[in-house]
């Protein structure tokens, strides 16, 4: 029987603690082989419980599906899985090298192989110099790098990482990202549970957002934001803001027919797409460039200079907040939501990350 294209195929995974606390309410999740999959969710959403069920640390109340083609909870399969838990506590009396070798041995890796592999991994995570120091002398970032190395010690097909960049400095985070991308290129499947949305956004092929023990959304970031993608047109002028606003309105009489006093003007294109003016930026809810051509012509005819045209999609952060806030709006679905992050709706130059993403920026992957 050939291997399935899915590394993780979870169906109806549920966990009830003490008969009353529903941590997971029937999770369905699919992770393809060779992709980086990000798991998101607010505190208490059940992310850690799900990861722990996959790694047999927590026993599910109900679970169907497979991990690397074997049923969930199948111990021998864990020999092909690498895992870095959140808030790990490695034995303090071991050195970095010994830690990698010890956990490789627990995955049944023979001595010559684990010796060789430890050297390779120490190089990979940039810890060769400190390999023979006790873990007790390591900084959190160094311990995290060793943790990542031990998760790869058995050359796993699936690597599950819980907050892998926790406590790591920006350079270290970049290094870890690069390691993960290299592993993906080698065909490994990487499952990341992280609060750092920007990190996930940079490397994840697909994501799932857990809310109150359920998968609220799942797919590629592009798929999940398709309905919220838009074009932004920024107009340049030497006029002050009020004059510029007036000139834009005058240039688009079919869209903004009546005089307006509010800051944000909302109109509709002929094709039915919503257009919002927040001087000096026009935001058009469409993914089709054909829909904005007439608009551009009208602006130019009005003597306005176009400074920037950009196709944008919501950031992962916006997607996340939008998703976790949704249940709150449903009657009878109370949910604790973290305070909303500052709005990032004002476009910035494409080279700078600000919470809004140009669509498929090649520099991010």
């Amino acid at each position: 029987m050939g291997a399935s294209s899915l590394a993780i195929d979870l169906r109806s995974v549920a966990k009830v603690y003490k008969g009353r606390i529903h941590a997971l309410r029937g999770i369905d999740m699919k992770v393809n082989r060779g992709e980086i999959f990000g798991l998101l969710g607010p505190n208490g959403a059940g992310k850690s419980t799900l990861v722990k069920i996959m790694t047999t640390i927590v026993r599910p109340t109900h679970a169907e599906g497979t991990i690397l083609d074997n049923p969930i909870g199948h111990k021998p399969t864990l020999g092909r899985v690498g895992y870095l838990p959140e808030n790990h506590r490695f034995p303090r009396y071991l050195t970095g090298r010994q830690t990698i070798e010890f956990f490789a041995a627990l995955s049944n890796v023979d001595r010559p192989t684990r010796k060789k592999r430890a050297d390779e991994l120490l190089d990979l995570v940039g810890m060769r110099e400190s390999a023979d120091r006790d873990l007790s002398t390591y900084s959190k970032g160094m311990a995290q790098r060793i943790g990542l190395a031990q998760a790869m010690a058995n050359d796993p097909d699936l690597i599950i990482l819980d907050e892998p960049t926790d406590g790591v400095d920006p350079v270290g985070r970049r290094d870890i990202r690069n390691v993960l991308l290299r592993l993906r290129d080698q065909g490994k499947t990487i499952f990341i549970n992280s609060h750092l949305l920007s990190e996930l956004e940079m490397i994840s092929d697909r994501v799932a957002i857990l809310v109150q023990g359920q998968v609220a959304r799942q797919g590629t970031i592009n798929e999940l934001t398709i309905t919220d993608q838009r074009y932004e047109i920024e107009v340049a002028s030497h006029d002050d803001a009020a004059q510029l606003r007036q000139r834009i309105i005058q240039s688009l009489p079919a869209i903004f027919p009546a005089p307006h006093s509010t800051m944000d003007l909302v109109g509709t294109l002929a094709a039915g797409h919503k257009i919002t003016l927040r001087t000096p930026v026009l935001s058009i809810s469409t993914t089709d460039p054909a829909h904005i051509q007439e608009l551009l012509d009208s602006l130019r005819r009005g003597g306005l200079v176009i400074r920037r045209i950009q196709q944008l999609r919501p950031s992962l952060e916006e997607l996340f907040i939008g998703t976790v806030e949704l249940p709150q709006q449903r009657p009878g679905f109370p949910v604790t939501v973290p305070p909303p992050l500052p709005s990032a709706s004002i476009a910035t130059p494409p080279s700078t990350y600000s919470g809004q993403n140009p669509v498929a920026p090649p520099s991010l992957k």
Binding site: K52, P85, R89, F90, P91, L94, F103, N108, Q150
Partner: protein
């Protein structure tokens, strides 16, 4: 599977070697043993760093063995060393099941039960290493200083490890259940204290019961003797019997009175034996279900010191009294209850002492393993 087991044992050794207490215990054991090496026994006398012990009318070699048995085995290995070992190993399971650590182990392709029992055995490694080194040292000290080369001493290794395993099982159960090292140490010591107290009470009751039984036996013999004498002294009605064989009425009356007094004592003694037997039976039954820490360690005494040598150490045996007790048919010799009790203890089978203790340990460990297997971490 072998790779994992070796890795866990190797890790346990590294863990122990990293603990200061491991080395402190090792050094203290060596110092204690070297202190004991100051004793020297030959056919003439027992000396300690040249100081000659006064004549205690006990053969010096037996006294030397007694010191070894009571100090080295009874005090050091059973008490000091065991407590230090308990303190050193009590944190193994609470540390294992703590968050961030257990995740790393359970996410590996090793079953929970195998992980649990391998860790348990790895925990016993501490005592095994300590006792092995100590006994080896003791073997040479005993041989060089007293000329008694006893390979049987090495039985001390499995015996002490077995004894410690009873306590460690409790410690592991508490550690898995409460996840607290301090609670594990405290409750294990408490449990050990209960077992020791129970064992001591049972021993006292056995001694009292044995004394009562010996008294009853003696009374039975005396009453029997008097019955026979009285029967012989009864006046016969047979014609032709010489008058000299007729009993004196006064003597007969004395015999009868004494016999009645003894019969009354015998009656009381029967009741006393029944009472002590019942109480001893209760404590013995309770003890049967618990680990026999004292008796397990005493197994090494059986190997090192013979029954006869034990009897020679009893106070009555080497008392200073010069007058020998006179026994006749009316006053049978009094058996010594201490020796009888010791003999009864020695008659208890190894399979009962170790078997029932290991059974208890198995139950406790199974319970701990069940919790470990079922718990969500």
């Amino acid at each position: 599977m072998i790779i994992q087991t070796i890795a866990i044992f190797h890790d346990a050794y590294r863990d122990l070697a990293d603990r200061k207490l491991f080395w402190i215990t090792l050094i203290l054991s060596a110092v204690a043993m070297l202190g004991f090496a100051g004793f020297h026994a030959d056919d003439q006398a027992l000396t300690y760093f040249g100081f000659k012990f006064p004549d205690l009318s006990i053969p010096s070699r037996i006294l030397y063995k007694h010191f070894f048995s009571s100090f080295v085995i009874g005090f050091w290995l059973t008490f000091v060393s065991a407590i230090l070992a308990l303190i050193s190993t009590a944190s193994i399971f609470p540390d294992l099941v703590s968050g961030g650590s257990i995740d790393l182990f359970l996410s590996k392709p090793i079953s929970r039960l195998r992980l649990f029992f391998t860790k348990y055995l790895a925990g016993l490694l501490f005592v095994f290493i300590q006792v092995s080194l100590f006994i080896t040292l003791a073997f040479f000290v005993l041989g060089i200083r007293s000329g008694s080369w006893k390979p049987a001493l090495f039985w001390g290794i499995p015996i002490v490890v077995c004894f410690f395993s009873y306590l460690f099982a409790i410690c592991v159960f508490i550690g898995v259940f409460w996840r607290s090292t301090l609670t594990a140490i405290f409750l294990t010591l408490l449990f050990w204290g209960i077992c020791y107290s129970l064992s001591l009470t049972e021993l006292i009751l056995l001694n009292v019961r044995t004394d009562a039984e010996l008294t009853l036996n003696r009374l039975n013999m005396q009453v029997d003797t008097y019955d026979k004498r009285i029967a012989r002294m009864q006046p016969t009605s047979q014609p032709g019997q010489p008058p000299s064989t007729q009993p004196e009425p006064r003597l007969l009356a004395d015999f009868k009175a004494t016999r009645e007094r003894l019969a009354a004592e015998q009656h009381e003694s029967v009741s006393s034996v029944a009472t002590w037997k019942r109480w001893h039976g209760i404590f013995f039954s309770v003890k049967s279900f618990l680990p026999k820490t004292t008796e397990t360690i005493a197994l090494l005494d059986r190997i090192l010191v013979s029954r006869e040598e034990t009897a020679e150490l009893m106070p009555e045996h080497h008392g200073k009294s010069t007058s020998k007790p006179v026994h006749d048919e009316f006053e049978p010799p009094r058996a010594r209850p201490e020796i009888e009790t010791q003999n009864k203890l020695r008659d208890r089978s190894v399979s009962w002492i170790v078997g029932t203790s290991l059974l208890f340990e198995a139950v406790v460990l199974s319970l701990a393993a069940w919790i470990f297997q079922r718990r969500d971490f």
